[in-house]
């Protein structure tokens, strides 16, 4: 009887020790369930009081120190988690090389759409408005085409494609889309040719580039043909 009591006492002590160690790790609350979250009454997107109820830029910024002024966190752990930090910030030499590349490209292809703003004439207010309108038109068409492709992504063999809608697309908008796409593809081909000529790409990059350029040239031709078919009004 006494032995049993001793054994039981030891087991209890072991349990107590384990429980103390377990609790010492900190009990994390489980994820909130729907009922708890609902009780917080998250407003619908766009409704007053939600983040998106304010226009961007009108949300009062929190008074926060810039990262450079905040105390630096432990580096060892950061380098373990994010190894790219070992590379540090881009050097002045690297940035000078980047600028030199842009200068050479700008000399060869002054209308290339990939050129940064500093290599292009600054936009007037009217040009900026036109650029925004162009962005609206081009992305509207791109979105429509992507949605169409998505809808037919898993079509079974022999399944007929979607019929074009009764009301055709806006010719002006479609023409703008083709003009932008053609200009971007031409710029992309120029960029790649520039890279292949003086960027010293690896053999594998050259192989991928050759295949891509062949495909892009076909795409360019198809776009030009479709562009030519857009009605005048």
């Amino acid at each position: 009887m006494k032995r049993r009591q001793v054994l039981g006492l030891c087991a209890l002590l072991a349990l107590a020790g384990l429980l103390l160690a377990y609790l010492g790790q900190g009990a994390d609350p489980g994820p909130q369930d729907g009922a708890q979250a609902g009780a917080r009454a998250v407003p619908e997107v766009g409704s007053p009081g939600s983040f998106f109820s304010a226009a961007l830029g009108q949300v009062a910024p929190q008074a926060a120190p810039a990262p450079a002024q905040a105390p630096p966190p432990a580096q060892d752990d950061a380098l373990r988690l994010w190894p790219h930090l070992r590379q540090g910030e881009p050097s002045a030499a690297h940035q000078a090389e980047v600028q030199a590349q842009w200068s050479r490209l700008a000399q060869q292809h002054p209308d290339n759409v990939y050129l940064p703003a500093q290599y292009q004439a600054p936009l007037t207010a009217q040009q900026a408005r036109a650029a925004r309108a162009r962005l609206d038109d081009t992305t509207a068409v791109a979105t429509r085409l992507a949605a169409q492709q998505h809808a037919q992504r898993y079509a079974s063999p022999g399944q007929e494609p979607l019929e074009p809608p009764a009301a055709p697309a806006n010719p002006a908008q479609q023409r703008q889309y083709f003009d932008d796409k053609i200009r971007e593809l031409e710029s992309r081909l120029q960029l790649l040719a520039f890279y292949l000529a003086s960027g010293q790409p690896s053999a594998s990059k050259r192989a991928i580039a050759a295949k891509d350029m062949e495909q892009w040239n076909k795409e360019l031709e198809a776009l030009r043909q479709a562009r030519a078919a857009v009605p005048a009004s």
Binding site: A70, L81, D136, T143
Partner: protein, 424 residues
Amino acid sequence: MLASSWFKRAGLATAFALAAVAQAATQQDMFARPGVIGDSLSQGFFGATVEKKTQDWAYPVLVSKQAGAGLSYNVLEGPYLNFEDVLKLNCGPFCIASSIIGGNGATVALPTHAGITGAEYTSVLRTSGKCADVSARKMERQWYWKTWYWFTYRWVEVADCQEPDKFHQFGLRDAGTQIEIMEKVRPSFLFGTAAANHVLCTALYTSTSCLDMDRFKRDFTETMRRVGAIGSVQGGVLFTIPNVSSIAYLEPYTDPSGRADYSGLKAFYRSSVSSPDQVLDASEVAAIGQFLGTMNADIKAQGAAMGFAVADLKVVFDDIRENGRPITGPNGTAPGLARAHWPLPNQPGLFGLDGVHPNMLGHAVFANELIQSINTRYGFAIPKVSEYSAWSYDSLNRDPVDLKNFLTNNLFGQFISWVIGIFA
């Protein structure tokens, strides 16, 4: 009598204690060989590319590292481009060209991390690094000697293997589909969520026509069935999908003429709305909410059935959207509340410049929520990532870019086209 019952209670307590010790000891076993299936969130897509640094900061990699484990993956060098690096003039013509065409850095024969940008449960089952759809078939003529004097053909059904997108080509190479890879890897722990792209299309296309609940249910169930059949999986984690209608890509818009179907949520870069197709109106937002509700209920049910941890990121993200995410550093330093948006000056943010995917800080937050759910479910003690460190070292938070200042940039339209097109 009293001593006897006292001994029984002590014995039960000891058994409980031993069981607790045994359970705590198996974190190492469970993370002996983690595996990942997933999408752009798991791969580290960052507007608009995948590259080594973004793959390294993706949530499954962080969680695995914190659990004392590791993942192997094919390192990508594109396709497309890192818009932050381009706008900050850190990526010039050679860098952009190289990134647009894409390719691989280091490669592995059998990646344990098979998550791929643009994937969903359908492509987890059907898209490999070689074929867009491994189940696709076509008819082909096969010539043969029908008799000793008659050479003719017959129609035979053969695989229709068409080249997949570059993310799959470079991410999976010749290892198979995501689920086939997991069947070969035989993971002990699985990061198993690839649900987001079943619903993200609604935000990118501002349309609900892409929603397909039958396909989601069918392919999610089949994926989890095959995961269960692997036999090696001891545990895993799934997460619910946040409300995609509240991501930074969309912002409220009210039609000046008061038309209900021209008002709602539009893409952040649009200056106006000229068609109902360009907004998600109130009824569409409600439909998305309903779809998400059903999808997330399925995720929770499946997770519970498989004994997985389930992180309720829908609730977490709603909280961040409403209240922000506190970032607290050493000695109580408080940089502020991180918002569900790309960073702005003096305003930490969790998103990258596409308004869809997390930045380095966002992934740290993501990882910590998963760690919390895993620890709770399995009684583990995986340490969390320092969100303060992630904020401090994140180049986008350190040096924010207000994308709204670049909307007239020639390249911006193409950047958006790539983001939209990835999910087409």
